[in-house]
Amino acid sequence: MKKMTTRFLMACAAIGAATGVLLIPTNFAAFSVSASVPLAYAPMVGLWIIGPVVALAVLRRPGSAVLTTFIAGVISIPTPAGPSAVVTCLMVGTAIELGFLVTRYRVWAPWLFHLTAAVFTVLYALSAYAAFDISTMPAWAQVVFFALMLGSQAAFTALGLVVARRLEATGVARGIAPRRTVPEA
């Protein structure tokens, strides 16, 4: 807690607010799409991942993903998901954070972002399996469902990393992110 400067907290609030604004229409779309064409819901999963990815990649501090998603959840309360959006978002943030926690916040290479996001997506797909009763669908539809979810996750993680790199170039994270002494791989 001592290490969390107000500046860091507010930076997370800014990224979280932007993510929340993105998630408000997404929540509405997700509800209507998942009702009619369940397969079309799968590519939207990545939208939940982009916020914590940007926060972690730019701020490079423990807790940035969890904090950002907490705030994104608070912002996206006025949607069909309601305050349970906070729970959903925190779940995503914690999952993304875990990969960096187990490497003790020393590895910031793109592969770790992709790996963590992929692990989360697989776990999430399994829970969606139960909710949408995917197992009763034809085999090809199940394969497409999984492929679309993983594809969307990979695409949005990559997009998040691009956004993070451009944000870093503007210099806004200077003084928040730890200084990098070792050149990146």
Partner: protein, 255 residues
């Protein structure tokens, strides 16, 4: 604030209380269990929501439409091999709609409707700022983190103004010209970076002014607005958790 008003309950109970029920509803396979949970959530909203007639109408019409659409669409997505022992209802060329598939779709629709309605119990009766305050008071969330959430709510309208400024600036400099959907997507992405960078710069200034006013100097903080945790909250929480355990028994157990 009477006991029958859901707004007088603690936001945490309304948000976290229905979660066991949601998990049970998602895990069920028959149509009866989720229907019972949906009915329970609707009853709560009717009894204590104090909702305007228009909102209530939208909720009822919306969930009914949701169940209807999902019955047909998920029915159509169901693997025919699983249900072709039931009787066929409609034949459209190569497509056959089996009654078993419809039943399957109905169960899925009711499951999602139950989860949506359970989420709406808190969604329609809770203020986001109150939820944050309850998290600080009852969940011992560090108040500095909670206030980051409250500050973020103020950032949202700012993003709107900022976006207008960026859009005008881009237009004046003819950044990302061109027509058509591809150029439009490119333009939106072009707005994202300055918007985020501007937001973070604003966040820097906000944090400076907050610290200048002594924010975070003390380990605790007093609140002007209190969110109490009362006996009624214990009752509602117990009832919600008990419903998650008992309703599946009423409907004949999870299959």
């Amino acid at each position: 604030m009477t006991v029958t008003d859901l707004r007088s309950y603690n936001p945490l109970v309304k948000v976290l209380g229905p979660i066991p029920a949601m998990v049970v509803a998602i895990g069920s396979r028959d149509p009866v269990t989720p229907a019972l949970f949906a009915a329970l959530a609707l009853a709560l909203l009717l009894a204590g929501g104090r909702l305007p007639a228009r909102t209530l109408g939208l909720v009822v019409a919306g969930t009914t439409a949701l169940v209807g659409v999902m019955t047909v669409s998920f029915g159509a997505w169901t693997d025919p091999a699983l249900v072709d022992h039931t009787h066929a209802l409609v034949r459209l060329g190569p497509l056959t709609l089996w009654s078993g598939a419809l039943e399957n779709g109905l169960a899925t629709g009711l499951r999602v409707a139950a989860v949506v309605l359970l989420a709406l119990v808190s969604g329609l009766t809770t203020d986001g700022a109150d939820l944050v305050r309850a998290m600080i008071t009852q969940l011992r969330l560090p108040y500095r983190v909670g206030y980051a959430g409250l500050a973020a709510m103020r950032f949202v309208p700012r993003f709107g103004q900022e976006l207008e400024t960026i859009r005008s600036a881009h237009r004046v400099r003819r950044v990302a010209g061109g027509r058509g959907p591809v150029a439009a997507v490119g333009r939106q992405l072009g707005y994202a970076i300055p918007l985020l960078a501007g937001g973070m710069r604003h966040a820097d200034r906000v944090s400076l002014s907050m610290e200048a006013r002594g924010f975070g100097a003390h380990p605790t903080r007093t609140e002007r607005r209190h969110v109490p945790f009362r006996l009624r909250d214990v009752v509602l929480l117990t009832a919600l958790v008990a419903s998650a355990l008992l309703l599946p028994l009423v409907s004949g157990g999870p299959r």
